[in-house]
Amino acid sequence: MAAWVKGGAADVSAAVEAAATLLAAAKTPIVTGLSADTSAVRAAYHLAGLIGASVDPVGGDGLYAELGPLSQFGNLNTTPAEAIGRADAVLIVGLRPWDRPIVQEIAASAPVRGRAAGSERTLLSLGGPGDGATRHVSYPAAAGGLAVSVAHLRAYVKGNLSGEAAYADLGRRLTTAQYGVVLYDAAELGDLGVEMLQGLVRDLNDLTRFFALSVSDGFQGRAVTQLASWTTGQPPRVGFGRDLPEHDPWRFDSARQVAAGEVDAALWLASLPAPRPDWLGSLPTIAIVGEGSADATGDVAEIVIAVGVPGETAGGALWNERRAAITYAPPAGPPADLTAAAVLAAIQNRLTQKKGASC
C-alpha cells in the first residue's frame, strides 16, 4: 500500500500521523469528494464532526439541482426497473441521459408488467441528439433551452397553450400513456428546469400515471445523501464549525469556500474515481485515493494515501444505479491491505489522542 508525504514515499502510519497533525492545526478545514463506499463516507462524517469541518461531496452541483427543488417542491419519481418493466412511453429530456446504459435497455425492451404490458413502448426525445441511432420521436429544444422547453410542454399539457405545435403533439403522447416516465439529468436541466419538469409530472398525474427518473451523478452522491440524512438529519453540504450540523448549500460549497480563501486544510476522499478539483495542489490537503488510480501519486496533494478500491480491491456498500439502491460490492480480487474507512478511523484516533494530550 502506497503513501506519500510532501512528495516523498512514506509508510502509512507516518502519513496518518502527518494527516492528523495537519488537521489538528486547521481552523477551517473541508472534507470533500466522498466518492467512496458508505463505511468510508460514514468515517469521513465522523472525522468532519470531530474537527469542525464542512462537508461537500463531489457530486455537489448535480446533486443540488435535484435536492434544491426537492426540498422546495417535492417530486414524483420511479425506478429504473419500473421504467423498463412498465413504461409504455419514455420521454428523454436533454442530451446527457443518452450516454447512460438505461436508454439502450429501455429502447430494446417493452413493458412486461402492469396495464401497459404487451403494448409497444414509445421513446420520445426533447432536446436530444436526434441522430437516429436509436429509434425514437425527436422534438427539438426551444430557443430558450431545456428548462424553457419543459415549461412550454407543460403549458400544452395543462391546456394553457393550444394549437398544433410540435409540443402539443408531444403533450398528447404523454397524456395518453398508461405508465409514462421522463428521464433526465438534473445537472443538465438545472434546478429551475427540474422544478418545472416535476410540475409537468404532477400535472400528468391528474390524467394518468407518470413519473420522473433522473440519472445519478456517478460519484456516489445518492449514497452520500442517504448517509448524510441519517447521520446529520440533513442533506449534504453541511458544516460542523459550530458543533452542530448546519445545512447550507451555498456556504459549504467547497469550491466557493476555497475561492474565497476560507479554507486552510482539506481532506479529499476518492477511493472511487472522481474528478479531481483544481485547487487540490494549492492547499494543504490529504488525498485518500484508490490504489492504482491516476491520483495515487505523491504530487497530487501534501499527503496521499492509496487504499483499496470498493468493488475491486475492497468490499463496500455502494450506490447501484440500475438497482436504484445501495448494494454490497464484494472485492473482485484479492483485497488490499487498507480501506479508506480504516485510514479515516486511524486519522480520527490519532486526532483524538492529540486532543486528549493537549488538554
Binding site: 458508505t38 460514514r42 417535492g74 445545512h247 447501484n320 448494494t327
Partner: protein
C-alpha cells in the same frame, strides 16, 4: 458484575408485581435475589422501576425516512450541546432517535416498513441508531413476484418459501403488508382499494394477498403476527375496513398498525364522502374483544407540525392535497410505492382534535392494554417524543380535562372521551409500553423483570407530572449497563439489530435469483445484507422462530 436496584416500586404486570422491592442483575440479565454482596447498589427509593420500553411501530429508518429529511430539512431542530456523540443533537438523525428513545426509558425500537429492495440501506441506517436494539419488518404484498405466484395459484408452500426467503435476505424481524395490492393498483390507475376489490392485471384482492401472507407467517413460525396496514386509512368509514379485515383473518394472529387512523365512522354512512366522521373507538374495542387473535398499535395524534411517511401510496397520493406546507413526494417504487406528505395537526382544528381524542379513547376503552400498544406511528401521528405527554393524559383525568378544554368542541360531540373516567395505572402503562409490545414481537426475555429477562430497565422518579417523569428517566440500563442518568446519555454503547432466524428454500432461491436478474439486471446477491457491508462487527442478534 452483580447489581442491586433497591427499594423502588417495581412494576411488572407479567409477574403481578407492583410494590416496593428489589431487582437483581448479573451478566446482562435479571437474576434471583442473591446472598452475595452486590458490586453496585442503585438506590431506587421514591422511583418506579419498569422493564425497558419496547417500540413496535416507528418510522426510524429507510428510504422514505431519508426522503422526509430531504423534503423537510428544517423539521427538527439541531442543538449545539455535545454529550459524547457527534450527532446526538442533530435533529432527526439516527443518533438523535436513539438518544431520545433511551432518555424516555425505551430500549428497543422497530422500523415497520422495510421493502426488500432497499434492505441494505435500511439496515445500515438502523445500525447507526445507538443505545437501542433495533429491528425491521419486511414489507410484502405488492411485489410482482408474489402477486404473480398467487395469480398462478402456486399454493401455500411457494408463498411460504418466498416470504421466508424475503425475510432471510433482508434480515427482517417480521412481515408486514401495507394496503396489500394497493401500490400495484395505483400504478395501474386505481385511486382507492377495498378489501375485496379486484387488483388490475393480477385478478387478486387485498383479502387474497393478506390471507396468503397470514398463512405463510404462521407456517414459518414468525413470532410477530402479520403486521397489517389495512385499506382505506384515514377516510370516513375506515372502521368498516378495519373490522372486515379483522374478520378476514379468521382467527389467525394479526396485528393492526395505527388503529386510530381507522376508527373513523362515517357520520352519514350512505354518503361517507360528506359529513365527516365520528369516533368508532367503541366499535373497534368491541371488535377487539370478539377477536382475541388481534392486537393493534394506536397511532396517537400529537398536535404540531409533522410529516407523514407511508408506503401506502394510494393514501398518500390522495393526501397530497392536504400537504402543509404544500410540497410532497410520491414514489412508484420497485414493489411498494411510497409517499411523504407534510402535515400540521392543528390544536384547535376539528379534524385534528377528533383524531387526538379517538386515539386516547381507544386506549382508555381497552379491556386489555397488552393488546393495545402505545405508538404515534412516528412521525405520522406526531413524534415519539410525545409519549410522556400521552402517558400523562392516560394516567390523569384532570390533566385530560384541562387539555380537552382548550381543544375543539367536536371532541364532546363526536367522541366519547369526555365521559371516560378511567386513569391508567403504572401496571397498565407497563402493559401498554413494555409487556404488550414485547409479547407481540415474540421477545420472551424483554418487557418484564422476571428472572432471566434481559437487564433492560428504566427507573423513573415518581412525579405527579407524568410528562416530566417519563420524559427523562432517572436511570436506564441496557443489558445491565447504565446508559442514561438523570435523562442524559452516559454510555454511548451500541445495541443489536434483531433478525429472525429463518431457513430459506434452495429451489426458491434459484427461482428468485433468476426472476430478480431478469427484472433488475442483478440477482439475489444484490439484495442481501452481508455483515461485510457494515462499518462495525457484531451488528445482528438472532431471534428464533416459534416452535
Amino acid at each position: 458484575m452483580l447489581i442491586l436496584i433497591q427499594g423502588g416500586r417495581v412494576v411488572d404486570p407479567t409477574a403481578g408485581r407492583d410494590g416496593v422491592g428489589d431487582v437483581w442483575i448479573e451478566d446482562g440479565h435479571v437474576v434471583a435475589a442473591s446472598e452475595r454482596k452486590p458490586d453496585r447498589t442503585i438506590d431506587a427509593s421514591g422511583c418506579i422501576v419498569m422493564a425497558g420500553g419496547v417500540e413496535v411501530h416507528s418510522h426510524i429508518a429507510g428510504g422514505n425516512v431519508v426522503m422526509s429529511r430531504l423534503l423537510l430539512p428544517d423539521l427538527y431542530v439541531s442543538e449545539a450541546a455535545p454529550e459524547g456523540h457527534p450527532f446526538a443533537h442533530a435533529g432527526g438523525s439516527a443518533a438523535w432517535i436513539g438518544a431520545n428513545y433511551a432518555r424516555m426509558g425505551y430500549t428497543i425500537a422497530v422500523e415497520p416498513a422495510m421493502p426488500p429492495t432497499n434492505a441494505l440501506a435500511t439496515q445500515l441506517e438502523l445500525a447507526d441508531i445507538p443505545l437501542l436494539d433495533r429491528g425491521a419488518l419486511t414489507v410484502m404484498g405488492n411485489d410482482d413476484q408474489l402477486l404473480d405466484l398467487l395469480r398462478q395459484r402456486e399454493g401455500k408452500a411457494a408463498v411460504r418459501d418466498l416470504v421466508a426467503l424475503s425475510v432471510a435476505t433482508s434480515r427482517g424481524l417480521g412481515v408486514k403488508c401495507i394496503n396489500a395490492g394497493g401500490a400495484s393498483a395505483f400504478k395501474d390507475g386505481m385511486l382507492n382499494l377495498s378489501l375485496d376489490e379486484e387488483i388490475p392485471v393480477y385478478g387478486l384482492s387485498t383479502r387474497k394477498i393478506m390471507n396468503a401472507l397470514l398463512d405463510a407467517v404462521e407456517e414459518i413460525g414468525v413470532p410477530h403476527p402479520l403486521h397489517v396496514h389495512a385499506n382505506n386509512l384515514g377516510i370516513p368509514g375506515a372502521d368498516d375496513s378495519f373490522v372486515a379485515t379483522m374478520e378476514a383473518a379468521e382467527g389467525r394472529r394479526i396485528h393492526f398498525a395505527h388503529a386510530q387512523f381507522y376508527a373513523y365512522g362515517a357520520v352519514d354512512p350512505a354518503n361517507p364522502g360528506t359529513g365527516g366522521f365520528r369516533s368508532a373507538a367503541e366499535r373497534i374495542t368491541e371488535a377487539m374483544e370478539k377477536h382475541p387473535n388481534a392486537t393493534f398499535d394506536v397511532g396517537q395524534v400529537a398536535f404540531g407540525q409533522t410529516v407523514t411517511i407511508s408506503l401506502d401510496v394510494i393514501r398518500q397520493f390522495a393526501g397530497r392535497k392536504g400537504a402543509n406546507p404544500k410540497k410532497w413526494i410520491i414514489t412508484a417504487g420497485d414493489a411498494e410505492g411510497g409517499g411523504i406528505v407534510p402535515f400540521l395537526y392543528k390544536p384547535r382544528g376539528p379534524v385534528s382534535s377528533l383524531q387526538w381524542a379517538i386515539g386516547l379513547e381507544l386506549m382508555l376503552l381497552s379491556g386489555d392494554p397488552e393488546r393495545t400498544i402505545l405508538t404515534t406511528d412516528h412521525p405520522n401521528g406526531g413524534p415519539f417524543t410525545e409519549y410522556p405527554r400521552i402517558i400523562h393524559l392516560l394516567m390523569d383525568k384532570e390533566e385530560r380535562d384541562r387539555e380537552i378544554a382548550g381543544l375543539h368542541k367536536v371532541i364532546a360531540e363526536r367522541s366519547g372521551l369526555c365521559g371516560i373516567e378511567r386513569e391508567y395505572t403504572f401496571s397498565e402503562i407497563a402493559q401498554l409500553t413494555r409487556s404488550g409490545p414485547a409479547k407481540l414481537l415474540g421477545l420472551a426475555d424483554r418487557g418484564h423483570l422476571r428472572e432471566g429477562a434481559r437487564a433492560d430497565v428504566a427507573i423513573y422518579r415518581d412525579d405527579k407530572n407524568r410528562t416530566a417523569m417519563f420524559a427523562r428517566a432517572r436511570l436506564v440500563l441496557k443489558d445491565g449497563h447504565v446508559i442514561v442518568e438523570d435523562g442524559e446519555i452516559v454510555d454511548w454503547r451500541a445495541g443489536h439489530t434483531l433478525e429472525l432466524t429463518v431457513e430459506s428454500d434452495k429451489a426458491m432461491e434459484t427461482r428468485t435469483d433468476a426472476y430478480l436478474d431478469a427484472r433488475f439486471g442483478a440477482g439475489l446477491d444484490s439484495f442481501t445484507v452481508p455483515d461485510e457491508a457494515f462499518p462495525v462487527s457484531d451488528v445482528f442478534e438472532d431471534v428464533a422462530c416459534r416452535a
